[in-house]
């Protein structure tokens, strides 16, 4: 019995550690991308710690809420934040196992993120401002379209490894050694597009805009201020980091720790940092060299991604 309790405590500890760790790093990733983008445009860009300064500033302010809003408006950011946090415990980061592997795999991860999105989009409709509705409508539209491509891309990887559980999946990949199958390339390309769409980056959404006609995510959270806004922004940053970590784990699992030896963990940490940084560079390059698509061109992008994922699945098994 004590063994069970001990194990549960270990799991809870690992989950908490991973969640807090990703929370701590996430604002840095956002700023690093901003900084690299600025350098590409021959600007200085913000200081590396700007993400933390912003969060500290928002948390220090009072929350201003609409008179027409109900408790849904207050619950939205909190549930969104909690969903992002819960999602971090479902993905292997440094160690080749997710802390809450016992809870579920890919489908639960996608479901958890959908949970947060549902909460935020609902809350956006609460103030009565047209911007919230506009953002919620567009965000749900893109999310709905991205869902099949995301799922199919993940299925292509999962079916190849014979498990939908991310920990088992990555351990299987690690045992197999580095052998990139052509289908991995296709699945990676498809998933990368979806990650760009889901994290609100150019060419799907512009995170830097505040022009009402082009905003998606920003329009949805336009009414939020103070600590409420801090929670939303922080959770979005965590989500982005999570998606990049997921891509790194699924397609470049090399270096992930399989034992708890300090050396292995250190290698795992360095490998993870390197991979996420490399993907961040890719995101920056895509964002700097593309123009934002019209909203009604996004389905084409998603359709390409869906096609790639399906091809990946087909050539792997036929």
């Amino acid at each position: 019995m004590t063994l069970v309790i001990q194990e549960a405590l270990m799991t809870a500890g690992a989950a908490l550690l991973q969640a807090v760790g990703l929370l701590a790093v996430a604002p840095l990733l956002k700023t690093v991308i901003k900084k690299m983008k600025a350098r590409l445009q021959n600007r200085q860009g913000p200081p590396l710690l700007q993400g933390y300064y912003d969060l500290a500033k928002w948390f220090g302010k009072e929350a201003v809420r609409s008179e027409t809003a109900s408790w849904i408006y207050v619950a939205g950011p909190r549930v969104y934040f909690a969903a992002a946090l819960a999602a971090t415990t479902l993905v292997p980061v440094v160690f080749a196992a997710a802390p809450l592997e016992a809870a579920g795999g890919i489908l639960l991860l996608v479901g958890t993120l959908a949970f947060g999105r549902f909460a935020l989009a609902t809350a956006a409709l609460d103030t009565g401002s047209p911007f919230g509705g506009m953002g919620a409508s567009r965000d749900m539209t893109i999310a709905a379209l991205a869902e099949p491509a995301l799922m199919l891309g993940l299925f292509a990887s999962a079916l190849a490894a014979g498990s939908m559980n991310l920990g088992v999946l990555i351990r299987t990949l690690l045992q197999g050694g580095i052998a990139l199958h052509p289908s991995d390339m296709l699945a990676f390309a498809g998933l990368f597009m979806i990650v760009v769409a889901e994290t609100g980056r150019i060419p799907v959404d512009n995170p830097a805009t505040h022009l009402e006609l082009t905003m998606i995510h920003e329009a949805m959270v336009l009414e939020y201020a103070g600590p409420d806004l801090a929670l939303v922004e922080w959770a979005s940053a965590v989500k982005e980091l999570l998606y990049l970590t997921l891509l790194a784990g699924l397609f470049m699992p090399v270096g992930m720790a399989t034992t708890t030896a300090p050396a292995a963990l250190l290698v795992g940490f360095l490998a993870w940092t390197g991979k996420v940084f490399a993907l961040a560079i890719a995101v920056t390059l895509v964002e700097s060299t593309n123009a934002k698509l019209r909203l009604f061109r996004v389905p084409e992008l998603v359709a390409i991604s869906l096609g790639l994922a399906f091809l990946a699945l087909a050539i792997r098994f036929l």
Binding site: S66, E67, T141, M151
Partner: protein, 677 residues
């Protein structure tokens, strides 16, 4: 207790008949009449529910006789198999809250003069659907099926002053009878081949062989598909479900469509012998089509009850996806995979019944409070109707397939069935399965968009009309059933393992399936798949989310000042309800993206009095083309009418001609029969 369970089904029927008599007798006293019909109905449903739970628990079939006429040798029997018991249990689970709710709802929504008729029809419908599930033979089945259809159509036509209601009831009757015709033909073919009318004899499999089997599948598929609301047999559903009183709509959407699903299970999948691969593909294709088109049409609706009706078509499609995967597995002899898929499908039957029942009951409360069904005329209802709002939110989250609620486990299991089917069946055909999974993912995403829209526009922001501003919460007798169903949504979502274990005896009783460790509970969660394919324990995620919410609250808790309230920025003017995003605007991007499906026509008129540059009023009209009505049923109806007018030549109204027909026919028959003997 044992004795009661053994005779539970006939006793429940007797209670229902007695309550019908009592309700008719008390027709002049609306209140007493309501309680006579609905109270007795509740007792009878509880009784059948107990019988069903007993059968599910033990896995043993209960047989019995409903009616015996010794002189003619007529025996009508019933048989509660584990499969019947599952559907019986689901029906009772919905019928009890619906009956309680109706006691409050009918008082407001049904006039005194009609109370007896509605209460009676409701009770008869409940009794008939129970007999459909437990029928021991084709005669019992068809009779109960027909009574169910007639009682339902009476309920659909409750407000028969309105042309729309009459039309809905008529359409429902026509479609149902086309379906019933197919069923009668199918059962007669089977009965002729087996020489018996009892289900164990005619549904033992491989009674007929060859192309005849395919024909039988087609007949039963159409017959049951109509009732299940599968596209393309769905046209009656979005008309009939909204026309009935809301609590009856709840029962129709949650339980009545499962009569069709039950038939598909009992006959198409497990009654005609090992299914062909092609049958499985038909079911999969129709399931995927129903799921995706159902949710797309739901997204475009501004009538709350029609929206929910279309979403029923979607969920019927998801149920069919699971069934299709099961039939594919059966066709390839994969017994454990078939068990996973059957479990997924049956679990969704239960989960859909619970959340759709809940949503329709909430919709009934809203309609009662605001006297309209138009989403665009609601707004801000969460303030006036806090309980209904929370219940609707729970239902909306469940139907969107979000974890922690009950839509998620069954959709999760359906994904498992489709993906495992891909890895463990041979041939190119299996590529359809991940495609179906992708369509299921799209359906889930669109359903989330649809219900963010439905909840947000109805309950949030400012009231859009005076009637929405003056809305008030429903009485307790209507709230309690809603809250019970909402709690059930959460319970079934957090502990899906319990449902999985309950379904083991049902799955095990079906021929060709073998529930292995894949479908056994794991803690409170569900494992699935061969080896360590996947598992899910929603309760653990609930813990993680709880910790996250506490963390967020701790981070954002302010020691110094409470949150400041300020008016929403109205873009420079005063913010009115007109500024808020409408439901039409919310779904506009998706309507434009899927315009190939909707084929919309829009008309914008700018009305000006003096000069065209000073527009006084803009009128906007947009309509989606009803594809199935226009391109499938339109030509069909025209063809039937043309054939009928062609046959008018025969029916000239002259008695002499008719006598001549009879004579000619008799001669031909005599020659034909004489020739054979």
């Amino acid at each position: 207790m044992e004795a009661l369970v053994a005779v539970g089904v006939p006793v429940a029927l007797v209670i229902r008949l007695a309550s019908v008599a009592a309700a008719l007798g008390l027709a002049r006293h609306a209140r007493a009449c309501r309680w006579a019909a609905l109270g007795a109905s509740t007792v009878a449903s509880l009784l059948t529910g107990t019988v069903a739970l007993q059968v599910i628990g033990s896995g043993h079939t209960i047989d019995g006789v409903l009616f015996r006429h010794t002189a003619s040798g007529t025996v009508l029997g019933y048989s509660v198999t584990p499969l019947s018991a599952w559907f019986l249990m689901v029906t009772s689970l919905v019928a009890v809250p619906v009956a309680l709710y109706s006691a409050g709802y009918f008082a407001h929504a049904v006039t005194t003069a009609r109370t007896a008729a509605v209460g009676t029809a409701f009770t008869i419908m409940l009794g008939a659907i129970e007999v459909v599930f437990v029928a021991g033979g084709a005669i019992e089945f068809i009779c109960a099926w027909e009574v169910m259809t007639l009682a339902t159509s009476a309920l659909v036509a409750t407000e028969h002053e309105s042309r729309a209601s009459r039309r809905a009831a008529y359409l429902f009757l026509v479609m149902s009878h086309v379906g019933t015709g197919c069923l009668v033909a199918g059962f007669l073919i089977l009965a002729a081949a087996a020489g018996s009318l009892s289900f164990p004899a005619i549904l033992s499999g491989h009674i007929v062989v060859g192309p005849m089997r395919d024909l039988l599948f087609a007949l039963f598929f159409i017959g049951f598909g109509v009732k299940a609301g599968l596209i393309p047999f769905h046209v009656w559903l979005p008309e009939a479900h909204p026309a009935a009183p809301s609590s009856v709509s709840a029962f129709m959407s949650a339980a009545l469509i499962t009569a069709g699903i039950y038939g598909l299970f009992r006959v198409c999948a497990f009654g005609l012998g090992t299914p062909e691969v092609n049958w499985a593909l038909v079911i999969l294709a129709v399931g995927a089509l129903s799921a995706i088109l159902g949710v797309l049409y739901a997204l475009s609706q501004t009538d709350m009850k029609r929206l929910l009706a279309y979403s029923t078509i979607e969920n019927s499609g998801i149920i069919a996806l699971g069934l299709g995967a099961a039939m594919l597995a059966l066709a390839h002899g994969r017994s454990t995979l078939a068990a996973v898929a059957v479990t997924a499908s049956l679990m969704h039957v239960l989960n859909h019944a619970v959340f759709k029942g809940l949503l329709f009951l909430c919709a009934g409360s809203i309609v009662m409070a605001t006297a309209t069904r138009q989403i665009e005329q609601f707004g801000g209802l969460l303030r006036q109707m806090p309980w209904t709002g929370v219940c609707f939110l729970v239902g909306a989250m469940a139907i969107s397939g979000l974890p922690l609620l009950n839509g998620f486990p069954s959709e999760w299991l359906t994904f498992q069935a489709l993906l495992l089917g891909f890895t463990s069946t041979p041939g190119l055909v299996r590529l359809n399965l991940p495609l179906a999974a992708a369509l299921l993912a799209l359906t889930t995403g669109l359903a989330a968009a649809c219900f963010v829209r439905a909840f947000g526009v109805t309950f949030l922001a400012l009231p859009r009309t005076p009637s929405a501003a003056a809305a008030h919460e429903s009485p307790v007798v209507m709230l309690v059933p809603q809250v019970c169903l909402a709690v059930l949504c959460g319970g079934l979502g957090l502990f899906p393992g319990l449902v999985l274990d309950a379904l083991r005896s049902v799955t095990g009783s079906l021929p060709g399936t073998q529930p292995g460790v894949e479908v056994r509970s794991m803690g409170f969660g569900m494992p699935s798949g061969l080896g360590s394919f996947d598992h899910v324990v929603p309760a653990l995620l609930a813990l993680a989310l709880l910790v996250g919410v506490i963390g967020a609250a701790a981070l954002s808790s302010r020691r110094r000042a409470a949150a400041r309230r300020a008016p929403t920025w109205g873009c420079g003017g005063e913010l009115t309800a007109n500024a808020a995003y409408t439901a039409t605007a919310f779904s506009k991007p998706l309507m434009m993206i899927f315009r190939a499906v909707y084929r919309p026509t829009r008309q914008v008129d700018a009305l000006a009095e003096v000069s065209p540059y000073f527009v006084q009023q803009v009128r906007y009209r947009s309509e989606n083309e009803p594809i199935f009505e226009r391109y499938v049923y339109g030509p069909l109806v025209k063809g039937v009418v043309r054939a009928a007018s062609g046959m008018k030549v025969l029916q000239a109204g002259s008695l002499h001609a008719y006598l001549a027909y009879v004579l000619v026919l008799a001669v031909i028959l005599l020659m034909w029969l004489g020739g054979t003997t």
